[in-house]
């Protein structure tokens, strides 16, 4: 089968797969319009942008726009913070999502399943701004809910906004609270797609619930997990600005553990409105992201060629 296919010319292949290709078309057009057509705009990262001259008419200044990031002396800390947070988000997020999806799948009562899915899903729709306010009202020292309870129990008040060390945990918890419901949907859907006969066969063979999860569901989810991980890794240098900015705000006490590339760049450039430096930073993040995707994909390919992207 493989051999025969590779003998075909490109045109023959196109004709043979016309229906599939036709179905791809909307996505291809979408990506072309929104991801490929703006690509030349990257050039703005290399010019001194002037509103009237436009991107390609503005003066070319080479790598000057990258200078501020490189000379800040913070590039390493920022990249490290960004990547570590994203790693925690990706790994814990996916693990929890798989776990939740399996739990949902095992639930017998349909009503209970729907209700819990909805409740899990709900935080996803709350704007980050509100999440930030919510967290502040829970945790702040003078009037926060948590501190209200602590002091009424006669315990010492807690000062999270003056303690950088608690934030890595807090950020991850907040992220998981917000995203797990959404992330679990994909896994839940692929569990739904597992052949029912396999499950029944396992049942007949006497496999209990845990064994079915261990030997059927998890292996069936593996390709989905790997692909989602690979996708997520591409964005690993892109920080979640909304989350960090709204929750940490610009409280410099917390910067050592919460400052990511986005928030740093925002603070540095918000005063000097500048498309070019912003694009330069975006470009830097994309290049690093590209390198990471390629590397990880290469590793995956070595280990399990079937699961690699390309």
């Amino acid at each position: 089968m493989k051999k025969r296919k590779s003998d075909l010319t490109f045109l023959e292949k196109v004709v043979r797969n016309r229906v599939l290709l036709f179905m791809c078309l909307p996505a291809v057009i979408f990506f072309f319009m929104f991801n490929y057509m703006p690509l030349p705009g990257i050039y703005v990262a290399f010019v001194k942008y002037n509103y009237r001259d436009g991107i390609f008419g503005s003066k070319f200044i080479g790598l000057d726009n990258f200078k501020f990031l490189a000379t800040s002396g913070q590039l390493w800390t920022l990249t490290k913070n960004t990547i570590l947070y994203n790693l925690a988000f990706i790994i814990l997020g996916n693990m929890l999502a798989v776990f939740v999806a399996i739990l949902l799948n095992e639930m017998q009562s349909k009503w209970f399943k729907k209700v819990s899915q909805t409740i899990l899903f709900l935080p996803y729709f709350i704007s980050q701004v509100l999440v930030g306010l919510l967290v502040f009202n829970l945790l702040n020292y003078d009037t926060g809910f948590v501190n209200g309870i602590l002091s009424s129990l006669g315990m010492e008040r807690w000062q999270p906004y003056s303690d950088p060390n608690v934030w890595p945990v807090l950020m991850v918890v907040i992220y998981l609270w917000q995203q797990t419901g959404y992330n679990s949907v994909v896994y839940f859907a692929s569990i739904m797609g597992i052949d029912g006969e396999m499950m029944e066969a396992a049942k007949v063979d006497g496999a209990n619930g845990f064994q079915r999860i261990r030997y059927i569901i998890l292996p069936s989810l593996k390709p989905t997990i790997v692909i989602l991980l690979l996708f997520a890794l591409g964005g690993i240098v892109k920080g979640n600005f909304g989350l960090f900015y709204n929750i940490v705000g610009s409280n410099p006490i917390l910067y050592p553990t919460t400052d990511i590339i986005e928030t740093f760049v925002y603070r540095s450039t918000v005063q000097s409105f500048n498309f070019s430096t912003a694009s330069a930073v975006g470009f830097y993040q994309s290049v690093v992201g590209f390198v990471i995707v390629m590397t990880v994909n290469y590793i995956v390919k070595k280990i399990e060629p079937d699961y690699s992207l390309f």
């Binding site: 509103y51 410099p252 912003a278 694009s279």
Partner: protein, 560 residues
């Protein structure tokens, strides 16, 4: 094979999506800017050719300065200002705009629309709107010190206003502004701004405080130094435990330290380089550039210590740095806080027994004093005339008509009063002494227009009507004191070229925020000496000395 092909496509598009994110806002901003600008410039020069004979004849005898301008097409002129869209007063606002537009239509066949850039992230949104250059805005309220007037002029956002254009389309404005003031609105020999140069106001910052409480605290003459403030805050915190002395938010750090420095030195800051105004000269030696943030180490250490003391007193809330929802000024009006840090203009409101300031109704003894930054060193610089100015967007399709509308808003008494105070008899009334008061049945929450159109770019003392509710005796006394001490803003002609030092300035901004926030709210770990040393080392690492040297070089070019 097919799967592989699809996967490659998918992966590349994903990576491309990532890269495009950074650059994608730029192409959108770019479309058709060049064409627009050309068209605008053309119109500027050719408009007088089509003298529209019939209209000219009709209007000639009324002394209309624009008799020979073709205004046959009705246009909408959009004026962009920072501030929030009126909500409670919406009805009266609409009514006022309808009346104003009637007049504008009659006089120049145009109507005005206001594009409010709300205060949340105003600077980014303001600049983004300007960058669109698609004719979204015509008149742009701007400022050289707080709204990026010069960077925008350099970026090509503003239209060059030729003398002929100004004479023709904004004749009254042209005449009323003296030549030396026009000089201060030029960059590279071109006029970009129309300054608000005939409006007395003081926007030097300081603390408005409760004079009655200061007296209780033993400060008989009120607060006249930072040390007095410490005494005052300590007293308030001890005596009125329910009151937060000053419910600040974290953004006030730059004004605080700036105020401290002008109170303890002869520093005169250069506007518009960064929001910290970290470079300048001294009163005795105006044209030698330095940064007090690097040189005045002892003073900064003292500042850090005092702010730590304030923090321990409990002047502000413990989580002040995360406090973004402070409503301190309104809280001051109703007596929930004991101080407000803002400029003199705000104090003139807070000191007056207006209906909104209920502290004066609740407590007959209540009074407000003002401790201005610089008082101790008698260091006061008058406002630059481009603290408020109007520019024309280079993307405007109707720059001539925009100028005509501005000329009316600035100089025509009828338009001015409507725009600044609303409809007479509804939103204001004029007393027998010629002061402005509120009519019977007036409700501040629904009827007020004054201050809601945010017209800070063309107010005119010839047409201003003083507000009867303001405490003018007190205010005039302070103004007189100021006038005796002030020096004029010395750097009006200086527009810094920052391209070569942009990276340094960006990093300095970041460092200033990161460290000064901790210093100014006493939230640093370790000693005051250590944090100031760390701050200065970071500034030096970011290249603050290069910036100083570069500014000196540019100063030498201009002033020597």
């Amino acid at each position: 094979m097919k799967r592989k092909l699809a996967a490659v496509l998918l992966a590349t598009s994903m990576v491309a999506g990532l890269t495009a994110c950074g650059g994608s806002d730029a192409p959108a901003a770019d479309d058709g800017t060049v064409a627009d600008e050309d068209a605008a410039a053309d119109e500027g020069t050719t408009a007088d050719e089509g003298t529209a004979a019939d209209e000219g004849a009709a209007a000639a005898d009324s002394g209309d300065p624009w008799a020979d301008v073709d205004t046959s097409e009705h246009v909408v002129i959009t004026y962009m200002t920072t501030g929030d869209t009126p909500s409670g007063t919406k009805e009266k606002y609409d009514e006022m705009m309808a009346k104003l537009n009637e007049i504008l239509t009659e006089k120049v066949n145009a109507e005005l629309d206001i594009n409010f850039i709300s205060w949340t992230d105003y600077l980014s949104n303001y600049n983004l709107t300007l960058a669109r250059m698609d004719g979204t805005v015509d008149l742009v309220g701007t400022a050289s010190d707080w709204l990026d007037a010069w960077p925008n002029a350099k970026n090509g956002a503003f239209l060059e206003l030729s003398e002929d254009m100004l004479k023709k389309y904004a004749p009254k404005t042209w005449e009323s502004i003296p030549a030396e003031n026009w000089e201060l609105c030029k960059y590279n020999g071109e006029i970009y701004l129309m300054p608000e140069d005939n409006y007395a106001q003081w926007v030097n910052h300081g603390f408005t405080y409760r004079l009655d409480w200061a007296k209780e605290a033993g400060l008989e003459n009120g607060v006249h130094s930072w040390e007095d403030l410490t005494t005052y805050f300590r007293y308030v915190k001890e005596t009125y435990p329910d009151i937060i002395p000053w419910d600040s938010d974290g953004t006030q750090y730059a004004t605080m330290v700036g105020g401290w420095i002008s109170s303890h030195s002869n520093y005169v800051a250069i506007d518009g380089i960064n929001s910290g105004a970290m470079w300048g000269g001294t009163k005795d030696d105006l044209y030698t550039v330095y940064s007090p943030y690097m040189t005045d180490t002892d003073s900064l250490v003292e500042f850090a210590k005092m702010m730590k003391e304030w923090d321990e007193i409990g002047v502000w809330q413990t989580d002040v740095l995360n406090n973004t929802a402070a409503t301190n000024r309104d809280d001051y009006r109703v007596g929930k806080v004991a101080a407000e840090q803002h400029h003199t203009q705000t104090w003139t409101d807070l000191v007056s027994k207006t209906p909104a300031n209920t502290i004066y109704q609740d407590d007959a003894d209540a009074a407000s004093g003002f401790f201005w930054f610089g008082e101790e060193a008698k260091n006061l610089t008058a406002l630059s005339i481009t603290h408020g100015a109007m520019a024309i967007s280079a993307g405007s399709a109707n720059p001539e008509r925009a100028l005509m509308v501005y000329d009316l808003l600035r100089n025509d008494p009828e338009c001015y009063k409507l725009f600044c105070y609303g409809v007479e008899g509804v939103s204001y009334e004029i007393t027998d002494d010629g002061l402005r008061t509120t009519p019977e049945g007036y409700n501040q929450d629904t009827d007020n227009i004054n201050g809601t159109t945010n017209y800070w770019w063309g107010r005119n003392d010839d047409l201003e009507i003083r507000d009867a509710s303001r405490d003018w005796d007190t205010i005039d006394a302070l103004y007189a004191e100021y006038d005796g001490l002030k020096i004029e803003y010395p750097y009006g002609q200086f527009v810094a070229e920052v391209d070569a030092i942009q990276a340094q300035i960006q990093n300095i901004n970041q460092i200033h925020e990161q460290y000064m926030k901790q210093i100014a709210f006493g939230k640093y770990a370790g000693t005051a000496e250590e944090i100031v040393a760390e701050y200065q080392a970071a500034l030096e690492g970011a290249g603050i000395n290069d910036v100083t040297a570069e500014l000196q070089r540019q100063f030498d070019g201009l002033y020597k």
